[in-house]
Amino acid sequence: MHAFHQVAHAFFNPHSFTLALPDVWAGFQVNLHMMVIAEALVLVFALALAIVRGLPGPGAKPLRALAIAYTDFFRGTPIIIVAFFIGFGIPGLQLGYISSRSVVTYGVITLTLVYTAYVTEVYRAGIESVHPSQRAAARSLGLSYAQAMRYVVIPQAVRRVIPPLLNDFVGLQKDTAIVYVIGVTEAASLAQQFSTQNGDFASYVLAAVFFILITIPLARFTDHIVAQREKRERAQAF
């Protein structure tokens, strides 16, 4: 019973919750801010990169190679190192405007760079999963390569990759906490400060709850989409 009380006191002290709430919530708004911007940027950049990777012909080879190098690099490098590169490296270069952005901006850049690499692969898998006959049908109607991609291939690809894409976004949302290492004041860092001052861990629990709370709707939304697709595919089987 003693151990239980100790745990309850260290992690779930109601008084500490109340005290920590304003700070952790304020910090979490920074996380929200970063995830929304990074996700929007990732959606666009990753699609562009996936399209570049799929460009046909020998002329596009350098572009394809560049896109491959990008994903190799940013998928292979731990996000914390990318954060150091961006958050400490860029200001260190003293390049005027780009070296004098806020740490939050560098945090968003870090998340965007890394998750663009992941989501590019997701999009690419989706594009490749569209049967070549769809492209052949579009091209044989006289649509150009770009039109066939724009109207026929990509809309089908995007629909298929929504679940894995949302899965990557859950990862991105959690990783907004990692960029505290370059000095972003967000939920995890404020929780740590509070914990140090207050001598218990309720602030961590609070921060965790915030992250979980925004992940759950995303997860349920993913489930919903998968279930809908299954229903549709079952209907098609008849």
Partner: protein
Amino acid sequence: MTAAANGNGTAAFVDVRGVHKWFGELQVLDEVDLSVNEHHVVCLIGASGSGKSTLLRCINRLERVEQGEIVVDGQTVTAEKVNVNELRRKIGIVFQAYNLFPHMTVLQNVTLAPRKTRRSSRDEAEAKARLLLRRIGLEDKANEYPDRLSGGQQQRVAIVRALAMEPKLMLLDEITSALDPQLVTDVLALVRELAESGMTMIIATHEMGFAREVADKVCFLDKGQILEEGDPEQIFTDPHEPRTREFLARVLEAEKQA
């Protein structure tokens, strides 16, 4: 200049000369010559893998040929520099597996290419599409998605989708092979109607009765070669080549068993 003259001294609408095509080591077309006059229907028959589909796909340049020349309506399809998009707008092709766009309604399937390539307005394209759909009795399906349609209905929509581009030539690639027998009739009726309206067509088919009925000329392909070609009556009643005879006997046997 490039189109060969036929017996009447006029240029053939489609002229395939000395075409060779390999997939790696495998030769799929071997010295193929074929000429099709305007408003004529040519049926390609032969076993699976004999090169029928590949020949059709070479004619609208979905496949490149290694050797030989293909001319359609005075335009050299096989030339190094050819505007394939422009070319394909006058050559419609329909595939065995329909290949409708599953994320678009029937109406969107039919209007996509006219809207995006011809710059015809949405209203214009839709009005025309509805007219075509009415012709095949599917106007009420205009706003349905393809997966709500039967195979036969999907295939007729695919034909109409090609027709919406007002092609001068239609290539039909075994368009009834994936259909249940009772769904074949409607599709063939539509093709028959097209033939009667004077559409130039090259049809790869396993429907021998249909080929005999609509074709002006039948070509028997075997191992990438046109082994025999001629008047449908002659091919079906008095084939000169033993292998044509064998093939027809086998098909008839299979039809009897079915």
